[in-house]
Symmetry: C2
Subunit: 153 residues, 2 copies
DNA sequence: CTGGACCTTCCCACCGTTGGAAGGTCAAGC
DNA sequence: GCTTGACCTTCCAACGGTGGGAAGGTCCAG
């Protein structure tokens, strides 16, 4: 089948399938004489595997590892579990960061009257009148800076 | 003061201060004859405002709006609150997505023996033996695809 | 006048995904 | 046959936010 059908069946866009091939997450697909990529049902299964792993938030690199464990019939499940556990901790960290942002902001929003007048604890806090934001959000900030970068989209 | 000191005082790297100027989040800094950027205490206050807003997860665009509300002495706090409330919902969505990923993965990890043998419910689920991942993570996936992109780092 | 700390601009990388341009291929209908 | 439209190809650029580094200029203390 062509890439379009593989995309439909796997839930991964054709763009991304090509990209995954480019970053060697997938081995290069077979080609027709005219250069069209050809996929088998097995290929589609691998693509679905990738999609499900991405749905769980695994990075491309992690998925590479998961795929090779999957292919290895003699893997010890210990290794899979370890990989997943590491990712779980990553998710947990992000979750905590987001949570502290959320509660800090929730607190601010709650304290703001939201009327015609200009006085607003949200702006006041951002402007630093008083103690540096909230201790919770600051902790998240530190983590963020240590990690390099951050949540998008 | 030079950009380095402004960076130290504000907690924003010199790199990012230049970047923020580039994307017009900040008005261009004064320059010395030799071209060095010069910052006042007021500039530093704006930088700190930005840092705190980023700590709460606001995007650059949102911060642009927050800054102009901050500068506007006649703003109705209603507008600030509305902006913050929108961001709060964004945080909440992300939080829910992460949470569903986490619980799905937690479930899988919990079900994996983590021993020398190859059988592993984590891989089995990713491979699609049974029902499509978990309904929770699927919901997250759908949202993600709708949104465009996703959590990094 | 030398050295080192600082500054400047510029371009490149990361991550995952999307968009578009410019062109080739394939199958159906006339 | 030829046209049309859906599909495919490659390549390049963008998003968000941040960091890294090169190549060069400046400033001050010793």
């Amino acid at each position: 089948m062509n890439i379009g059908e593989a995309a439909r069946l796997s839930g991964i866009s054709a763009k991304m399938i090509r990209h995954y091939e480019g970053v060697q997450l997938l081995s290069p697909a077979q080609r027709t004489d005219s250069g069209y990529r050809q996929y088998t049902e097995n290929d589609v299964r691998a693509l679905q595997f990738i999609r499900r792993a991405r749905d769980l938030g695994f990075s491309i690199d992690e998925i590479r590892d998961l795929l090779s464990l999957w292919q290895d019939r003699n893997r010890p499940s210990r290794e899979v579990k370890a990989l997943a556990a590491v990712h779980l901790e990553t998710l947990d960290k992000r979750l905590k960061e987001l949570h502290s942002m959320k509660s800090a902001l929730e607190h601010l929003v709650h304290g703001c009257q939201g009327n015609d007048r200009p006085d607003c604890p949200i702006l006041e806090t951002l402007a630093g009148s008083g103690d540096e934001a909230t201790s919770e959000a600051n902790a998240a900030s530190l983590k963020r800076h240590r990690r390099g970068h951050q949540i998008t989209g």
